[in-house]
Amino acid sequence: MKIEILYPEIANLFGDLANIKYMMASVPNCKIIGTDLNTKPAFLTSDDIDLVYMGTMTENAQLIAMDHLEPYKDEIWKAIETGQRFLMTGNAFEIFCKDITDLDDMPINRFPERVNVETKTTRCLGLFDINVKRKVMHRLNSLYLGKYGDLDVVGFKSIFTYAEPNAVLPPLFETVKGPGLDNSKMGEGIHYRNFMATYLTGPLMVLNPKFMIRFLLECGETQINPPHMGAAMAAYEQRLMEFRNDKINYTL
């Protein structure tokens, strides 16, 4: 398996990269390619990338990533349409949306050509018809319990944003408890062809070992042997029990 991490020098917040480390440790001969900002993404130049991953980043880093991906946006869309597998966690997927509108102040200080200060709107790559709303003075911290098929998925959100799709896009997770993509009961994330994205931050795969195995199977892997599976499952079962508890608050 070959995994390409896009822009690990900036997209590395909140422990998200543990997702890749866990997958790498679970599959024999897994290779990781870290593509930096000044290199064309490998999945656009070779056909052996099994997964493209990008994690959470700062608001300025989103703009940097957009600028570096802008020249390739048509190629990226073609790759999505032809089944290239992507996993985006945290705010990474917003780069591929239509725009981000700040409802509080704008926490960014560069890229005047991409940012309309009057409307407080940032133009994104526009691959998905989704408007993102950002409130930097109102951080959302929440727990999340959802379903991926028959699997229970647990996770956390610590974000300034929510997303409003203008078209119906299948969610990555069906929401059981906690805020979905638009902070309501909507499903969480998007799942378009093999483009998978979620606002859940942090070590999603580590928190959900069963989901990781399912995900790797869908990537075509057959030899999956996650390390420390007993300890991972114990932590998962404990968290699942807590998240199912009606006394637990889902938002802070």
């Binding site: 917040l13 909140f14 990269l17 608001e59 956390f156 942090g202 580590v206 404990q238 807590e242 998240f243």
Partner: protein, 464 residues
Amino acid sequence: MKIRFYIALILAKLSIPALKITGHNATDFPGSLALKICPDFLKYVAKPARIIAVTGTNGKTSTANLVIDMLKALGVETLNNSRGSNINSGISSALLNGVTILNKEKYDTAVLEMDERSAARLFPYVKPDYMLVTNLSRDSIMRNAHPEFIRWLLEKYVPKTTKLVLNADDLTSCYMLPENERVYFGIEKLPTDTVKCHNLIDDLQICPKCDHKLKYEYRRYSNIGRAHCVNCDFGSPEYDYAAANVDYENMKFTYRGPGFETELPIIDERLVNLYNEMGLITLILQLGYTIDDIKQHIKTAEVTKTRFNHETVGSMKVYNVLGKGLNAYAESRVYETIVEQPGDKELIMLINDLSLAADWSENVSWIYDTDFETLNVDSVKKIVVFGDRGLDYQLRMLFAGIPQERIEHVSKPEDAIYAVDVLPDMNYYVVYGADPGSFALGNKQAKELVKRLKAMTGGEEVKA
């Protein structure tokens, strides 16, 4: 509004003796009450003529206390919030104490530790003349998001008139508020410095001007060090005040300023506290004191003891270590410090965030930014974790390569002290978080462990 303010002032002042009489120790309560009655309390309360702020992600409490002590030694009684919080209620309580019932200020100088995340609530009203920024680094994911956001908040709210004392070795904070007058302090290259980052948190890998890679000339941990861009003219600023010839063996260093240098004692063996000491000295110099004034008193300066103290039981030591749960960056520094200590070690990790545990489930993402790998050394013989989150910490440690046989999970925190092995010459570290629940638990269990060891070793005298 003025009437409301005076009602707030009077009632909040009356609450102080009432709290004392009823045996309550809620130092923030008077400030909270004042803000509840008059939300603009901070705007109207009289303030000392000179306000010194200490802010930053890590080290601000230690540094603010050092500043308060140094000024006291120099004959300046300061209004300060060392006994309260650093958010608006704590600052309000402090300022309340600093005025008469007629709102006349009683102090000329305030030293305020100010929470960087609370910038929007503090700086519009409390305008520092001087502000020392210790550093800006990753902190609580939930509260602080990331350091760029905190820098943005400070830039939005800190007045342009504030003179800044900045850490030149921290590229996240050192270029903040470019219009403000500033001086830079830093620590020159150390023999232990590296070029490559050996920490999980490796912020500032690219140039903030042109996005090309930054080349580090040296670094201590994460992004602390000196760097320049390989493509443009961006780089770390020159030091106005530098620590050179740092000699931990003899606990001394050379302090270099414009046109002078002198030898000074290192007041604490931890590198993070040398940065705090540098911040202290550089700030005091900006207030008009001379290096000789400082030299007279720096020898007696002490870093707050509650953060890393120990008790001895025979040949064993029990360390009481205040970590910073939820703050991966600070927690990693704690682990580095522990591992640097001589001898074999057993750790009791009471870092679970207990304050919210009743109706919340801790977001454990931070532990995957924390260098648990540091603890994977032969001298760490056992690590005890507890409860629900203990399962997460155990898993994280396994990922860090720590063998399962060195990790013990117990159900209840009070069981942890019975899970350690009582061995001669062993060093026990009780590590806990800053949230009130974890803080109280950690202190209690450290004492219980001392008692247990004392009982097991026949009641040998406990030496502080």
